[in-house]
Subunit: 360 residues, 2 copies
């Protein structure tokens, strides 16, 4: 298979971890005789430094013409602390999501047996957790009209959804549930928000089309609690943009490190793959950022194109790195000095020689 | 002291737990020679069943003329599952908060030594956690304009804040931090929301007035993770309405049961005290609802009027009940059949005879 992959390393630790994912994809291409072409583009604070804008036209073109986008991270502390900044790195990421029509963000939360003791949660709470979060990604309060009064004393954001936006991701979430444990949980705040009631109404309407799927309805406050006290109750979680942002980052505590969580952002025409951790500015360029989330995002990329054996091999490499403690310090108490690059190298080696790779 | 207390038991387990708090307040009045007058009012689904509306005029009058309101719970599963309902129990609670001007909701999250093993989190993660959440309660997306198109296919909610609303609670939160560990964390989503940037700007502006307080800024997604992996880093958390709703319910996992979390909702003229757990419909009328959150809300009521010794005695009673395992099933594995009422009776007895109370 021939794939043109746009690579957007972005900010902070983005470049380091993305380099490992690219390395892994190259090894896969070699091993399975695929042709993967990688072209880099600028985005985020990095793009702002070089071009003044977070999402240059050129980058958008690159992504629009690519088969898939591999995204690193975005964000920069100096903008975070400056609420007056007119242009922000995040606009790069949000602009991409919107322009490419990536309305479904899929975030798997899977507890690794070997890492159960890394979690803040008790082992017995989290063992066998396997959740797929379906987060709506191009609507809601992220993209509704924003307002700031001239005197700067009043500000607002609109959370807005229409039937079409809710229906398309709801169908996908129901289908995902059908291929899993056949449970769907809608998370909203329908006791307060009109937009949440729209979600609840539509999910209720569509549910009869998926009679084999059991549907639960939770309010976001309650879901934020249930996710911790009983994560195993969940199979597929469907939710709107902002609630999905919160729940998926919260869910990282189950897995033991946010450096493990991958995601796929899917639209009708385009697809983008990115770790859910952000720029991790304070850990950037120290060789300590965990590349696994980025590498697993690459695995999701492969699966997106039906390359399931290839993805399985990547996942095996990740599993093995975890089993052998070839992991960055967020997960590692056994060996020091296993850097971002070393983890990538290990998984690359594994792909090249699945039967021979050991601690080297 | 003479206090007129409006009692609004509300829905689900609200009446049961509120009855225990009233019992405790009566014991305190007796012991300390206060005159507490209690007058009950209807609210929520219960009020809807009897009067058609969730916040009858009479109830509002009662609360407006009272020195304090003791609130039970609100909500009813049948409305939760009916996104088309025009009138909802929650409007009773939200209406009260707004009409009484209760703009500051204070939610303490304190890990009880004896209950550390009840938490989903590992003991060493949570030991000594002591957080005060300052949640803005009368603004934001809860009260912004709502919209539903005539064909029902489009819906929106506005999240809106103005300087005044942000400033008044920010000052209170800073002052609270000054009397504690002098740390304030603002939680927002300033990388995406204009309203969050208003919060961040104002907190930055006011910070120099409180030079002894260290201020941290966290995005809500990150805060939802940090609250679990390192709750001890927090002292006072300041946040807007919806984020406060989510974070405070999530924080209940630290304490081991949402049945322990009390809250005070304070305005310039009025004050209301309520457990943060909701109606708990499925546990209602079974004697299993934990009354401690409601009893601790009563303690916060006492503190609000400067009755610190009285509140301390209530808290001692609660501590003792926990130490002796006189608790409802959410916390109890030692003794069966300790009902909501028995927990209330125990704490009442303790107040009457602090030195004598034992398991009876
Ligand atoms: C960087 C930020 C805009 C982004 C979001 O809020 O969506 C991030 O937190 C994420 O979850 O991908
Ligand atoms: C019942 C509901 C409207 C309420 C809220 O969201 O504020 C509750 O969850 C709370 O936290 O007091």
């Amino acid at each position: 298979m021939k794939l043109n992959i746009a690579v957007l390393p972005g900010d902070g630790a983005g470049p380091e971890v993305t380099a490992q994912a690219v390395k892994v994809l190259k090894a896969i291409a070699m091993e399975f005789n695929h042709v993967f072409n990688f072209t880099e583009g600028l985005v985020g604070a990095t793009a702002m430094q070089k071009t003044g804008i977070p999402l240059p036209e050129e980058t958008l073109d690159l992504c629009e013409n690519a088969d898939a986008v591999l995204f690193g991270a975005i964000g920069n502390t100096s903008y975070d602390l400056d609420p007056n900044a007119k242009v922000r790195p995040e606009q790069g990421l949000l602009g991409l999501r919107k322009s490419l029509g990536l309305y479904t963000n899929i975030r798997p939360v899977i507890a690794y047996e070997e890492l159960l003791n890394k979690s803040s949660l008790k082992k017995r709470q989290i063992k066998d957790t396997n959740i797929l979060i379906y987060r709506e990604l191009t609507g809601g309060i992220y993209f509704g009209e924003k307002f700031l009064s001239d005197d700067g004393n009043k500000a607002s954001d609109i959370c807005e959804y229409n039937r079409f936006e809710v229906e398309r991701i709801t169908h996908l979430a129901f289908k995902a549930a059908q291929s899993r444990k056949r449970k769907l949980a809608l998370v909203d705040k329908a006791n307060v928000l009109e937009s949440s009631r729209l979600w609840r109404r539509i999910v209720q309407e569509l549910a009869p089309q998926y009679p084999d799927v059991t549907v639960d309805y939770l309010f976001i406050d309650n879901a934020a609690m249930e996710l911790i006290i009983n994560p195993r109750q969940f199979d597929v979680i469907l939710t709107e943009n902002m609630f999905g942002d919160i729940l998926s980052e919260e869910a990282s505590v189950i897995v033991g490190s946010i450096g493990l969580l991958a995601s796929a952002s899917i639209g009708d025409k385009h697809a983008m793959f990115e770790p859910i951790h952000g720029a991790y500015t304070k850990g950037a360029n120290k060789g300590i950022a965990n590349p696994i989330a980025s590498i697993l995002s690459a695995a999701m990329l492969l699966e997106h194109f039906g390359l399931d054996d290839e993805a399985a091999l990547v996942r095996e490499g990740v599993d093995k790195s975890i089993k052998l403690h070839i992991t960055t310090p967020d997960l590692n108490t056994k060996y020091d000095h296993i850097t971002t690059t070393k983890v990538g190298d290990f998984i690359e080696d594994f792909i090249n020689n699945p039967d021979e790779t050991n601690l080297n």
